[in-house]
């Protein structure tokens, strides 16, 4: 029971080594940001992100999550930049003081498509990779086990913490605390809420650090891991090939003067 969005569909994408997926995601992001042309983002979307999303069988969840994140941003982006972009000269439509410029919309399109790639690629990684596997893979590559511990442990703590915050809110309401009224009144109720939450947190931390030490968390031995992270030689090679190809894609247009 954790608060991640991981969906286990058992697809080939799910079975990839987390590092492979991480490298692929970084390459996609670097390409769309380094080549600031809207159709590059469109191309990456069409040839890389969408096919992988289809193979992963997470397409529907991916669209739902990404739409929730992206829609508000895109709407604001197009409205604000369409109307107020500082470099806007060519008017498309005008109502009174409001003028939509084509430079503004073009600017919004460039940024908007990059954001779509950024969000889709990273949500896809999170949807298809169990955070535990990602942490094991990174720890195996030399990341401090403390990072892995903090991230995994937080992900599992959040639901419990939310439950406790609710329990405290109820306990104080049961003592007659009303959550209605002016903003000032509502700020005042933060203390009875946060006080027990943070005091409880301190007791927990004392316990949790004791329990961790008791299980050798402070040991300086080289960590081993019970569950091996899946990998293959094809993936090992591809983790070098992908960055190389990305680099070429970025550098070649400059070298040839195309950009």
């Amino acid at each position: 029971m954790s608060s991640t969005v991981y969906v286990d569909r058992g697809s080939p994408v799910h079975r990839l080594n987390p590092m492979t997926k991480l490298v692929a995601m970084l390459c996609v992001i670097v390409i769309v940001f380094a080549l600031p042309v809207w159709w590059v983002s469109g191309l990456v979307l069409a040839v890389a992100i969408i096919p992988v999303a289809v193979i992963s069988r997470c397409g529907r969840t991916l669209s739902r999550i990404s739409a929730t994140i992206l829609l508000p941003i895109l709407v604001v982006l197009f409205v604000v930049q369409g109307l107020t972009f500082p470099g806007g000269k060519t008017a498309l439509v005008s109502w009174g003081v409001f003028t939509v410029t084509s430079e503004g919309l073009h600017f919004a399109l460039g940024i908007g498509l990059r954001l779509v790639c950024l969000v889709l690629a990273s949500v896809l990684l999170v949807l298809t990779t169990h955070p535990g596997d990602l942490m094991s893979a990174l720890t195996a590559r030399g990341m401090s086990p403390k990072f892995g511990y903090i991230i995994s442990s937080t992900l599992q703590l959040i639901p419990a913490f939310r439950d406790r915050a609710n329990a405290i809110l109820l306990a104080q309401q049961a003592r007659g605390l009303s959550v209605k009224g002016s903003p000032l009144r509502r700020i005042k109720i933060m203390m009875p809420l946060l006080g027990p939450l943070i005091l409880g947190m301190f007791t927990d931390v004392e316990d949790r650090s004791t329990a961790m030490e008791a299980r050798g968390f402070g040991s300086t031995a080289r960590r081993t891991s019970l569950v091996p992270v899946p990998d293959s030689s094809v993936q090992r090679v591809s983790r070098w090939v992908m960055p190389a190809v990305s680099l070429a894609v970025i550098v070649v247009p400059f070298a040839t003067g195309a950009l």
Binding site: G216, R223, T224
Partner: protein, 283 residues
């Protein structure tokens, strides 16, 4: 196996010590219960036994703690914890949260100590079989009941093969079903050679499972011995530990002059049946 000699301890900045001149000696493979009222210093004593005091909390510790003849005072914490395992009160906080299945949770300590994978798999399977955790191995530790979580916590200590296991009120947050699960584990551990020290309030269950009882009161060990003798001790009330209803009933009956000639007060159901059946009962 674990032995304390004249142990006194005060927390940093404290004006008075929490424990004074505590001595006890628990033999290999024994299950020892330690009784004490709320605030008697049970958690402090548990942490001293497990090497957390003074390593983590600081403060003044005098006297010696030794495990199998080896002094714990000279060992760094990471070394001390491989001799004495500690199970804390709240199973929820004992779960590391760093792992997503019970199997990996049990292996967490072994990973930290760098145990090789094949050996790790063998040890996890062995412990899972001992404590009957097989069906839970692939579930998330957070989906389990409190009692099951405490079993996982105990399993993840036993797997480290520490010769001594200290449990600090492991059932205080559990319902009767969970409590029974934990006490059943004690029976399982008997015969494995692990020495168990359990801090508990539940007198009837302690009587069933412990080989010896110690009473912690007034900052020291004030009584020690066979569970039947300790639980019949009239001073338990002064120490705010109380006694079983069987003992209370027998004492009240004695006061009424009903159980003339009774040598030993009953502390368990069986003993009480024997005592009262003789007197006013079925005969």
């Amino acid at each position: 196996m674990i032995r304390l000699d004249g142990v006194s301890y005060a927390y940093p900045d404290a004006v008075r010590p929490v424990l004074e001149n505590v001595s006890l000696d628990i033999g290999r493979g024994a299950i020892a219960g330690i009784l004490g009222a709320s605030g008697a210093g049970k958690t402090t004593l548990a942490k001293i036994m497990a090497g957390f005091i003074p390593a983590v909390d600081g403060g003044e510790l005098s006297g010696t703690v030794s495990v199998d003849g080896q002094g714990m005072g000279d060992l760094p914490l990471a070394e001390a914890v491989s001799r004495v395992g500690l199970v804390i009160q709240n199973p929820f906080n004992q779960i590391s949260g760093a792992r997503y299945t019970v199997r990996e949770e049990i292996a967490f300590g072994l990973e930290n100590f760098g145990v090789a994978r094949p050996e790790m798999q063998g040890r996890v399977d062995e412990v899972a079989e001992l404590l009957n955790l097989g069906p839970l191995l692939d579930r998330s530790p957070y989906e389990l009941s409190g009692g099951q979580q405490q079993l996982v916590a105990i399993a993840s200590m036993i797997v480290l093969r520490t010769p001594v296991l200290v449990m600090d009120e492991p059932t205080s947050q559990l319902d009767p079903a969970g409590t029974r699960m934990v006490f059943d584990v004690l029976s399982t551990l008997r015969g494995t050679g692990i020495t168990v020290v359990i801090f508990e309030h539940k007198l009837e269950l302690l009587h069933q499972h412990a080989d010896a009882l110690y009473v912690l009161a007034d900052r020291s060990i004030v009584a020690a011995g066979d569970p039947t003798d300790i639980l019949a001790d009239a001073r338990l009330a002064e120490w705010h530990i109380g006694s079983t209803r069987y003992t209370r009933a027998a004492r009240a009956a004695q006061d009424r002059g009903l159980l003339a000639g009774l040598q030993h007060l009953p502390v368990s159901l069986e003993q009480a049946v024997a005592v009262f059946a003789d007197d006013g009962g079925a005969r």
